[in-house]
Symmetry: C2
Subunit: 650 residues, 2 copies
């Protein structure tokens, strides 16, 4: 029965293209033929059972156009069975979230044609392509050097050998227009349409925007309290301590509450209790062929001990060396600046006046270069560590980049604060850094790429116009696909989170010196939402949705920052002249008190984080109910199946 | 088929008594009859389907003997289906641990008569009795005031109303003899027979003894390093720091490694991934009748917010008040001692010499009284907080008692260390406290109860001998049961863990002042193993096994202690005269360095705890494999069942 239905579907003329697959223009014909055959083949023959069509030539077909672009789609039936494969959770008619199964499909809410969102369909197709495995092929036809072995993911191998250039999901213009309208096109005071964002871009993106919004609103109380501190110059030691204590408790509380909010988002988006399918090894992963101890499938095996050795003996020392270098460069900068100042003080000529700015400029340039080199080095090292999973690769990369960026951004501030103990300079540097980095960021992030993209778009549209006289600007599908293929690749939420992390650092680390920081960050984030949304909708290729259940390693990073903030704030309070004046008779007393209060607050912080449950009660109850039901069902199932058997045997 | 087999079993003459159930001697006949009927009734009629027999009168039957003692057992078949109910994990033929199911019983290793250990059988019977629920009874027959409602656990209600006095599992004399021989009867250098302990007493007990042994061995390196420090009086600031750093890293590492070791023990004992059945409300739990949101069963509901209010508004302030009182008493003690000393110094007469000891004696007595009162108060408060689950009740009780005991034990030492800054006195007090508490403990814990028990046993044996002339000391079953019913109840591992916790405190908090502490603790624990084992085997009633997967809240308590230890040790180093001499020119520098090193070490400690995975790799792989298999099975199951149906419909 099933076979007939699917073979009917197979010839379905209403083929909706979902994903674009681009091979190099020099790909050999036999390899293409083989790949398409394998993608179209029935699942029982080891194929992916997807629909795939070659993209026709564009209107202004030029010679440089790549002919090897393919559109991939699937029948409704295939998508549903794929949804079961990837373990998608959907809402049932009773409001609970359950793993979707084809047999129970009518129990799910709104089970009809648009049951699966386009992003989900694209994710399913990506998963099915990724798990399309070689059978008895020893190499890709036409390429004897591109080896295959039974069970190896074909797409990953083509990707790692550069035959497959890219694989990306298509935009849906109508939906995108609607989304962008409700998201950023109207100036409004309402919240972002998180559910729509998730619907169009998937959970990973939606979590970033959810976090951005949550974080911005959470900073509002800090900003409001910071304003009077700034305006009235409240600087007694008691006011300092009160402000610092409020900030610290607030930081802890908002991070804990975010966990709860994120858990309830993840529950409603069906990713909280979704069991991830076992991840394929990432494309670059290599090793001796062996058997995966979990799945029993043949795949490259790389000993964990070797990876640990590489991490601890090479990567960690390298990162430490880079941090040392960064500090060293900073010290040279401070020396140069002191020298330039002294020259200027000795002889305040015009050239000496210019000389003052030279160290800052050199330092800024050197820092940018170091950041760039370090980023490449970190990527190289993390690649060389040979992580099996993409997620583990990402985590190690994030950690490396995070630590270095933290140092580069904050080392000079720490130096000014604790070695030079110059609070006025600290406040100045902080304000300058915060404001310039915000302006630069928004420009580099959204305006520049948009402008480049716009130029490219115009060229394409003009080219199309030259041939046809289109009245509306609506592009035909072929052109649309080629246009999107030319768009820049969206590189994930990494840089966006990193920016928020550094902003959080400015707010939390030095909040008692510069209470206005929170205000600036809040203002920045209000525009950040718009520029990020704009970037997502207009500048980049659509990314594949990523079924995240939380913000991952960033939660940890923000929590670590809030611990460092406690220490820094109390050290700042300890060295502030107001507090020093209060404890003028005994410096020892001052330090002991500062340290004691800091310890108590740290303990309190950890206690608070421990006492606030990570998952809200009502979500917890629903999860337990699901677990209880599955346990009960298991008990019944055994009895039932025995009964059934008896019934049939009669 | 099933019914016939079980009705056969029911009349089985080879009934093995497993659990004893004692009702008050005044219980009304109709209540007894009803209870026995409900216990014996078939499961499909809502009974427990267990075997139960009244215990006959003893040989020396006296009037004061309680006639209402019942022996409970079960057929093999019933025990197996019960094992499935409680979600028991057993080893399969392929070496993996899986949840036992009757249908797959032949896949399990050594599936034969002794497949379930006696402890497991007893646990199953306890579970089945606990989940024996009222149907349409509105009250216990004969007791209109003992209300019931559909779904209420009958045994729990009888327990909370005092009609059921006790429910305890029987010892198995042969097995006990073998266990005690391999455990403590021979002096040996081998490890404890943890698997046998687990087999006889269950996982909770085995974890305690496993922890005791692990902890003792883990302290050996600290003890070995402590000896030269003690002998050669190494007291430079560098040596202090080295010793403290070793200790801190060691403490962190052993606690992390224990987690790994405990995970692999739990895996092999089948409790690591065992899903706990939903816990019944504890006997004392009360509330308005409602529906449990998870199970949908009718049961008392008590709003969580109300409980939180009771905890934060009453219990927490009460505990804080008690801590304050304890500090206050301590201060009075120090004042009294100072006064006594001054009196003695003024006039060193005989009476003044005696007066010196008075404050210590009074303080010791007051502390004991406070401990006792506090324990009652803590139990009362935790009861009053009305926790739904026994586990949650236990956790709150442990936390309350822990904090108070920590204060009582260590407050005076902290006072001596940091307020009086008298290192000689600190060392003396520490040694005295450690040695006397150890001796006292071992005496109170094992010797005294044993001596009392022995007297009781002798009386019983003599009485039996008077009637019959038994050649061997083997007692008949009836006497055995009555003897065990008279034994003291084993109150759980609480006090044993508490003792280890306090010992760990002595070692880790003040290790740099008194490096010999670890040696004393190691020596103590070598005998502790013997006395605890002896106590378990000879002094107390056999406890029901408790399927623990780790040492629970104690892991947290030990970890918290090791964090406090970092802070204390660095404070001790900071105030030590040797270090002060080194930084003689600037006290500020000294404190700043101490604090800085402390922060770095704390950060390192947390990093270490984060980097060491909690579950060993090979266990992790097995767990993932199980999960992967169940996912794959689920996929197949759907297809299979569809196929089956088609097959039968043909």
């Amino acid at each position: 029965l099933r076979v007939t239905m699917e073979s009917l579907d197979y010839c379905d003329p209403g083929f909706t293209p979902l994903v674009v697959l681009e091979l190099t223009s020099e790909t050999k014909e036999e390899a293409i033929g083989w790949l398409l055959r394998r993608i179209r083949d029935l699942q029982q023959n080891g194929g992916a059972e997807l629909l795939v069509e070659q993209l026709g030539p564009g209107v202004g077909a030029q010679e440089k156009e790549n002919p090897n672009m393919f559109l991939v789609g699937a029948s409704q039936q295939r998508l549903l069975s794929g949804a079961e494969d990837v373990g998608l959770f959907k809402e049932c008619s009773d409001g609970s979230m359950r793993a979707f199964t084809c047999t129970n499909k009518h129990k799910f809410k709104d089970f009809k044609d648009s049951f699966l969102s386009m992003a989900e369909c694209q994710y399913i197709i990506k998963h099915e392509l990724d798990t399309l495995r070689a059978r008895d092929e020893t190499h890709v036809p036409g390429y004897t050097e591109v080896k295959l072995y039974p069970g190896k993911s074909i797409i990953r191998r083509l990707q790692s050998k550069g035959i497959l250039i890219q694989l990306f999901p298509l935009h849906e213009k109508e939906e995108l227009k609607r989304l962008s309208f409700s998201w950023y096109k109207k100036v409004k005071l309402s919240f972002q349409p998180l559910d729509d964002i998730r619907h169009y871009y998937g959970e990973g993106q939606a979590f970033y925007f959810g976090f951005l919004e949550y974080f911005t609103f959470a900073l509002v109380p800090m900003a409001l309290i910071g304003v009077p501190y700034y305006l009235f110059d409240w600087e007694g030691y008691d006011k300092y301590v009160v402000f610092a204590m409020f900030n610290l408790i607030w930081c802890t509380v908002i991070l804990e509450l975010w966990k709860r909010y994120s858990a309830s988002l993840a529950y409603h988006w069906g990713t909280l209790s979704r069991k991830k399918a076992f991840e394929e090894p990432r494309p670059g992963f290599h090793g001796v062929l062996g058997f995966n101890p979990v799945t029993g499938r043949e795949e490259p095996i790389y000993p964990n001990a070797k990876r640990q050795l590489r991490i601890y003996l090479v990567s960690v020392p390298f990162v430490l060396l880079c941090l040392y270098l960064s500090l060293y460069v900073m010290m040279i900068y401070f020396q140069m600046e002191a020298w330039a100042l002294s020259v200027h003080d000795d002889e305040p000529t015009f050239w000496a006046g210019i000389l003052i700015f030279i160290p800052s400029i050199i330092y800024a340039v050197v820092i940018e270069i170091m950041n760039l080199i370090y980023r490449y080095a970190a990527e190289f090292l993390t690649e060389w560590e040979n992580h099996r999973l993409e997620s583990s690769y990402q985590n190690h990369l994030v950690l490396k980049v995070l630590v270095f960026n933290f140092f580069n951004c904050f080392a000079s501030l720490f130096y000014i604060a604790f070695v030079m103990q110059d609070m006025v300079l600290l406040r100045q540097s902080l304000a300058t850094l915060l404001i310039t980095s915000q302006i630069l960021n928004q420009f580099m992030e959204a305006c520049l790429p948009y402008w480049l993209q716009r130029r490219r778009n115009k060229k394409m549209i003009n080219r199309v116009r030259k041939r046809r006289t289109l009245e509306d600007k609506e592009l035909p599908l072929v052109e649309q696909v080629r246009l999107e293929a030319d768009m820049s690749m969206y590189l994930g939420t990494f840089d966006d989170y990193l920016e928020q992390f550094l902003l959080f650092g400015y707010v939390s680390l030095f909040s008692c010196v510069y209470p206005l920081a929170a205000v600036l960050v809040v203002l920045n984030n209000f525009t950040e939402v718009y520029s990020d949304a704009f970037k997502m909708c207009r500048v980049f290729k659509r990314p594949f949705s990523d079924p995240a259940a939380n913000i991952g390693v960033w939660q940890l990073a923000f929590e670590a920052m809030s611990v460092i903030a406690v220490v820094t704030n109390f050290a700042l309070i300890g060295i502030s002249p107001q507090v020093k004046a209060y404890f003028s008779d005994s410096e020892t007393q001052l330090i002991l008190w500062t340290v004691a209060i800091e310890h108590v607050l740290l303990a309190f912080k950890f206690l608070l984080a421990f006492l606030i449950p990570d998952i809200p009660k009502h979500i917890q109850i629903r999860l337990s109910r699901l677990e209880f039901e599955s346990l009960e069902a298991l008990k019944k199932k055994v009895e039932q199946s025995a009964e059934n058997l008896t019934y049939f045997l009669k």
